[in-house]
């Protein structure tokens, strides 16, 4: 917050400008009440309004007891706001109703806020006795605060008042913009606080207050001057345009691409629990500092997985080779990890079984769901698939588009459930307006034979033994709902396929499927001579290849599935082949049997190895020249332009 005039007081509780606070507090309240700005956001507008056109306002349901609150940021779903010098100091509210849904105490007082969509973090600056401190506040996928820490202090280069009212995050460069109270300088910082540069703000006559990034633009508020100045980040000293905010005392700023039909900038008033929205040019808001057009990659992990291990800040699960490269390109990609119902990520060592695990959604539609599969005390990533599919449908609808869903293993079965739900609702399903592509990686398209009785009838004992080993390694507890669901021909798959509308995936979605074809070449010996006795395609050992036809439901399940039955520029299946020779009679010699099983299990295309060896597994690319490429590079290439991945 900036004072128009007056002396800065250092010390005591009010580390802010004397004349600004007490005088303006009363006057602004009168102004706001007098002109009646406390309204709900307006409905959709008929045409693109000019920048600065008021779009509405929201009255936040909890006021700051300190009387001052400057921070505001939008995470794609919620508005977050802060309060100066008090606890709690951070609030999460609905942008349409203002109803506060959560509050937190971070530091006993906060100033400006800036959401980082790349890391799902809120950066928050000081607002009280904590002068100069900047905090990183980690959120989970449900936008609950899970942790916070001070990450640097600005006093080494700027230490003016006890509150900072200007902080913005740029996901394109993964940097911060900072402008403290009573300052006309904007500092460009790394997220560890290193000064990268500074420049004067573009306004005149006042101090700079709030900051916000909107694609290539930097928005600069001017408290007391009721104006927002806008510059291009590349030429920050050159004013691009400005607009009046009509009496609002602009403090924190944040852009919002989804609450209104028009892209908007929210401005938080300093002294009242009210935020005001103004139109900004279309296409100039990427939530969380993202450049407009940033693709969200929604990763849906497999059975036994933990969604926290697939977040950019904690890549400790499988598919690191792919996800790390996506995370390293925040200007292009945002990685989001989807939590199952009963996801392992909800487990805790605190004694409470699954704290923070939400209740299952009820919008399971046509999907089969075991009514006895709800248990708030179990989080093992083996819950009923219908609950997770319904949650995925709702989750995708909230994301910033465009979105690519990348599903692994049982995550593929959940994704099939979402596709069934979305396909049933058709264009009215909000998720389909966000998602433009789906990629399956060894997905349980038709189920895993390891979850059923399959495999026992192979006439070759050594294949039986390999299947038994794979089944054992897959850790499939047949008493858990998710495992029962993922068995071939289960009621779950029947319900998914009941909803199947040919060609099986909504036509507007691009579709790519990676499956394994591990061929066990059976070569029997007659002393030093050998005889070919055929081969057995074991898929990835956990998933057989199955059938391309969407309506097929093979007894032993499978990972193949080609919507429409024909490969096109945006619908393709990639086979990941490998071949291992084994003598089917080695089963009679235990050391040889053990060696054969070991060699088979070591194949990079098995379900047990693939997810950590995508750099090594090669596929025939689907581009014009169709070169051999690693799965990692092919997935990254597709995600660059998934709607035309094979053109």
């Amino acid at each position: 917050m900036k004072a128009a005039t007056g002396e800065t007081i250092r010390g005591g509780l009010w580390h802010v400008t004397r004349s600004s606070l007490f005088v303006l507090l009363a006057s602004m309240l009168l102004i706001i009440q007098g002109i009646g700005l406390v309204t709900r956001p307006t409905a959709a507008l008929a045409a693109d309004p000019s920048p600065g056109t008021p779009l509405g306002s929201v009255h936040l349901s909890v006021s700051c007891s300190s009387g001052i609150g400057v921070g505001i940021t939008f995470d794609g779903t919620n508005l977050w706001y802060s309060c100066y010098n008090q606890s709690p100091d951070l609030f999460r509210a609905s942008p349409t109703t203002g109803q506060v849904s959560a509050s937190y105490t971070i530091a006993g007082g906060l100033g400006a806020l800036a959401y980082d969509a790349a890391d799902n973090v809120i950066y928050a600056s000081y607002g009280g006795s904590n002068i100069g401190e900047v905090y990183s506040i980690q959120l989970d996928s449900h936008k609950n605060v899970v942790s916070s820490k001070a990450i640097f202090n600005t006093c080494s280069f700027s230490c003016l008042t006890s509150i900072d009212d200007g902080l913005a995050f740029d996901a394109g460069t993964h940097t911060l913009y900072f402008s403290p109270d009573t300052s006309t300088t904007v500092w460009h910082l790394s997220t560890s606080g290193t000064v990268l540069g500074s420049f004067p703000w573009a306004g005149t006559g006042c101090y700079n207050s709030g900051l916000a990034i909107g694609d290539e633009l930097l928005f600069e508020g001017a408290d007391g001057c009721t104006t927002v100045y806008v510059v291009d980040k590349a030429t920050p000293t050159k004013l691009d345009f400005s607009f009046s905010t009509g009496g609002t005392r602009d403090e924190g700023l944040t852009c919002d691409d989804s609450t209104f039909r028009q892209d908007a900038i929210w401005s938080k008033d300093a002294y009242t629990p009210v935020a005001y929205a103004f139109a900004i040019p279309s296409g100039s808001c990427g939530v969380g500092g993202k450049p407009v057009g940033t693709r969200t990659v929604e990763f849906v992990h497999g059975i036994n997985g933990n969604y926290r291990q697939f977040e950019c800040g904690n890549l400790s699960g499988s598919f690191r080779a792919v996800l790390a490269r996506l995370c390293a390109q925040p200007a292009q990609f945002t990685v989001d990890s989807f939590p199952y119902y009963q996801d392992q990520g909800y487990s805790s060592s605190s004694g409470q079984a699954c704290p923070n695990m939400p209740a299952p959604g009820t919008n399971t539609g046509i999907l089969y769901v075991d009514p006895h599969s709800i248990d708030p005390n179990v989080c093992d990533s083996k819950g009923a698939l219908a609950f997770s599919a319904a949650a995925l449908d709702a989750h995708l609808a909230k994301l910033s588009g465009p979105v690519s869903v990348v599903a692994h293993s049982m995550g593929g079965a959940i994704t099939r459930g979402w596709l069934a739900l979305a396909g049933t609702k058709g264009a009215s399903d909000p998720s389909l307006s966000k998602v433009d592509s789906v990629l399956f990686m060894q997905g349980a398209q038709a189920g895993s034979w390891a979850a059923g009785v399959g495999g026992a009838l192979n006439s070759v004992p050594i294949v039986d033994r390999i299947v038994q080993e794979a089944t054992h390694l897959a850790h499939l507890d047949a008493n858990r709902p998710g495992v029962i669901d993922v068995a071939p021909l289960s009621p779950w798959y029947k319900s998914v396929n009941t909803a199947l509308r040919y060609p099986g995936v909504p036509t507007q979605l691009a579709y790519y499927n990676f499956y394994s074809a591990l061929s066990l070449q059976l070569r029997v010996n007659f002393g030093p001579f050998t005889l070919d006795e055929g081969s057995f395609n074991a898929g990835d050992l956990v998933m057989l290849p199955g059938s391309d036809k969407p309506t097929d439901m093979p007894l032993a399940g499978g990972a193949k599935f080609l919507p429409g039955g024909v490969r096109t520029t945006n619908r393709h299946e990639f086979v990941m082949p490998d071949q291992i020779d084994i003598n089917p009679l080695d089963f009679a010699v235990p050391p040889l049997l053990a060696g054969d099983i070991q060699r088979v299990l070591a194949s990079p295309v098995t379900h047990f190895n693939f997810s950590t060896q995508t750099d090594q597994v090669m596929v025939t690319g689907c581009g014009p020249r169709s070169p051999q490429a690693s799965v990692t590079s092919e997935v990254l290439r597709i995600l660059q332009n998934p709607t035309k991945g094979c053109s």
């Binding site: 009785v453 006439s459 007659f526 005889l531 007894l555 009679a588």
Partner: protein, 266 residues
């Protein structure tokens, strides 16, 4: 063994069978041995054409998932009552509304399977009557799945000796004559001889038995495994290997399936 096909069963008879099965099903008592059929247990008809796999369902007492396979026809799957009558003997009885997937097809269709029979795991023997429905065929087909005579250990040694002699002499026609169905179903004698004689491999200058192993049953198939030692080459270029002759009990005879992969003798 397939007896009749199709065996037409009238509607009234079908109804009475259903009723009889529903009323006469025997459930095992709570103290029944829990370990029976916990893993998939496979029994094969003496003809080698039909096979039945049964595995107890987890979490559901005294019921088993089954997969009944007839070569060249297809697979029936479903759930059947498994009634333990002793530590190693189980009765299968009941009618299941299961699924049938024809050989080469990828989409199963509903089918009815009725089953009555006994599995004796201690002797690896079984006799199970199975009535199945199949799309496009009226009524039900009846199969009697019956394991053949138990394998004869004394014949095994003699068969193994014959196989080793033929192998040492590269007498490929003789080997084909004594070969298991895994070979003869895939190759005619001429093809087999051509494939084997076309390989440039050193001949076996000597070969002998080196101990023996007991008869084993794996996936419903009885095997006799005879460890052997053989030498190729002569003099300074001689190399000695160990391997195992594997004989399969098929249709009341030991048949030569081949050897394991030879390993250089240490």
């Amino acid at each position: 063994m397939r007896l009749t096909r199709p065996l037409t069963v009238g509607v009234a008879l079908s109804a009475s069978l259903l009723g009889a099965a529903a009323g006469g099903t025997v459930y095992a008592s709570a103290d029944s041995p829990p370990s029976q059929l916990a893993a998939p247990y496979v029994i094969r008809d003496a003809s080698g054409t039909e096979a039945l796999s049964v595995q107890l369902q987890q979490g559901v007492r005294n019921t088993g998932s089954f997969d009944f396979s007839v070569a060249g026809v297809g697979d029936w799957t479903g759930v059947i009552t498994v009634a333990p009558v002793s530590a190693r003997i189980s009765h299968l009885k009941g009618i299941s509304t299961g699924l049938f997937e024809a050989t080469g097809a990828t989409t199963p269709v509903p089918a009815t399977v009725r089953m009555e029979g006994e599995i004796d795991q201690s002797h690896n023997s079984a006799a199970v009557n199975i009535w199945v429905s199949q799309p496009g065929h009226p009524g039900q087909a009846h199969y009697l799945l019956q394991t053949g005579s138990p394998p004869n250990a004394s014949q095994a040694l003699r068969a193994a000796q014959q196989a080793l002699t033929a192998l040492q002499h590269q007498d490929w026609p003789a080997i084909w004559q004594m070969a298991a169905s895994s070979v003869t179903d895939r190759y005619t004698q001429d093809q087999f001889v051509q494939v084997m004689s076309g390989q440039q491999q050193p001949s076996m200058s000597s070969a002998s038995f080196s101990g023996h192993r007991p008869i084993a049953v794996v996936s419903g198939i009885s095997y006799y495994t005879q460890p052997i030692t053989f030498t190729t080459g002569v003099g300074g270029s001689a190399t000695t290997y160990t391997a195992s002759l594997v004989l399969v009990w098929e249709k009341g005879q030991w048949r030569f399936a081949g050897t394991s992969q030879p390993q250089p003798s240490s």
